[in-house]
Amino acid sequence: MRVNKFTAMTAAVLFSISLAGCGSDADDSTAGSAAPTMTTAAPTMAASPSAAMDMVNFGPGCAAVPTDPANKGSFESMAQVPVAAAASGNPLLSTLVSAVDQAGLVDSLNTADGVTVFAPTNDAFAKIPAADLKKVLADKKTLSSILTYHVVPGKLTPSDLAGPHKTLQGGEVTVSGSGEQFKVDGTAAVVCGNVQTANANVYIIDTVLMPKS
């Protein structure tokens, strides 16, 4: 469950970016509508204390996530949809969402069998000089390479997180730290960890990662 929320959050971030043009959340009367949800977990699993523990998110950035479960950006909503759809509900991740859309990776992320996504926030993208960001967004191949460098096969729980992980881009990311303090590639801090989505675990980070080429 924890993994799902994290993934959902990342996805939410990514999606927010791509869907930012669709109208503000405040104006969207449908934003609060819960979708018919999929109950894959057995009811007994949901009730077990250990499963509940797994759902715990951590990090200062989690405070920015909407708390109303009916909100599309909430942890509860994100846990029920695949990662890219989940990200689109989260205003913190709107730049990432548009980048994923631009790269044509929405379906691939949504229909991947179980992944971990390091999701840079809008502030993380804002650290990149505007001209450079524009150039990257226009270059689908480079953009795709950067984005897939943020995705690791399999759902990593916080206890699996530290260490080197081969990314979908092919290069390796290295996570250091433990408990609730993690850094990715020594530069990007996890600001909200263990966000669950239907098919991915999301760790929201404050800096965009760059593949070592």
Binding site: S33, A34, P36, T37, M38, G104, T111, A112
Partner: protein
Amino acid sequence: MRRIMAGAASGILAAGFGVAAAEILAAATRPQAGPLVAVGGAVIDATPTAVKEVAVRELGTYDKPALLGGIVVVLLLFTALTGILGLRRRIVVVAGATLFGAAGAAAALSRPDADVVDTVPSLFGAAITGAILWWLLHRCTPKPTQNNAPTRKSSADSGAVAEAPEPDFNRRSFLRSAALVAGGTATAGASAQWVKRARAGAAARTREALLLPAAASPAVPLPAGTGPGFVTADKDFYRVDTALAIPRINLETWRLRIHGMVDNELELSFDDLLDRPLIERDITLNCVSNEVGGPYIGTARWLGVPLAPLLRQAGLRAGADQLIARSAEGMTIGTPIDVLLDGRDAMLVVGMNGEPLPLVNGFPVRMLTPGLYGYAGACKWLTELRVTTFADVDAYWVERGWATHGTVKTASRIDRPKPFARLTAGTQTIAGVAWAQGRGIAGVEISIDGGDWNAAELLPVPSLDTWAQWRYTWNAQPGPHSIAVRAADRTGAVQAGERATPFPDGATGWHTITVTIA
């Protein structure tokens, strides 16, 4: 030779008595824990789908009796062998009975909602089996002579000596004991049946014990050339609902009420439903909340009662345009009445893939409307059908902003390769499904890296209400590639390419995945 026959008979008789004893205990406590039903259920679950499909195809609804017959044959062979080997070594009796009990107990535990106490009937039955077998084998073991058993005076003094001694064992004594056991088995078996019937209620007719009648109008056989995975196994069938606990419905007290804007209110029991002519159809069902390329879709062979004749029997009043189905846990699903009466195979489903409807899929009865998303036509755990109007009543999801008419949109999905797959250069097969229930799929096209659309090969389908499988042979060149799919239905309309979210009436967009060729 005669002793071997006696050993085999001992094993079979003892097992019969043990099973009957276990059944009587289960009947009086938890009928679903009876070893026959538990083992039957476990065997069904463990049977590979392909085998099950063949069995269902070849045997139709006789697959259950065939299965039970098969279990009995295996049981006879096992117990006969135990009896024969037990003649020589009594440890075999203990081992056989233990294995016997363990199998029954394991089967009972594997059932949905199993409890530890469910193992008791099987273990009890196994203990009885072991004891009886031991006793019977003792009866057909040669009496020791005075020479080699001087201390066993009683045997020397018994009638065994007085009677004409059998060359190998006391036949009359054995037959007497065997008859006693057989009589006991018959009595216990009859008692178990009687107790089950006496308990009439609740668990006496569990899902596992339920035998559904054959369809008056069977499904057409799947055409040759249908690919693997055309029918979705029950365990892989998606589940989207709001039920926190799966409703448990007592078949004996279950009633379906058809009321509202009707001339004759109807109340039907489960048997009333089964008394009507049933149809069986292959139909694809999908969820409106499925994202492009998502997993919430499946195809099953559904057995059910056609809904339109029931509605006509109830007598629809003028102006009625919506049927509100209500589930045992309070879900409401609204379906347009004109859709239900337009000749499509809308039905009240009682069976899925040759079995009673699984609990998670709505046991005992769910609605199914081909061509509509589940939220608009496929209420599970059905208890009530209310004839009304769209103006008067909003169903559960409509209250939450979803569309009133949930017609399935034409769509397609790439199942192979997987997103982000790393493949080798050369010939690769791209494969997947496309669906437009009610309209049927006319064609599927593939575009690599945004290039021209090329036709994929369509595999045969049994009807317009199922998905169509497709495949495309791709000469893959090294590098990163995107693969997109789109379908056209038989009205000529091409699947919408614009991206829409599932809310409020179903996602649109061409499923596009990224792969890397090494």
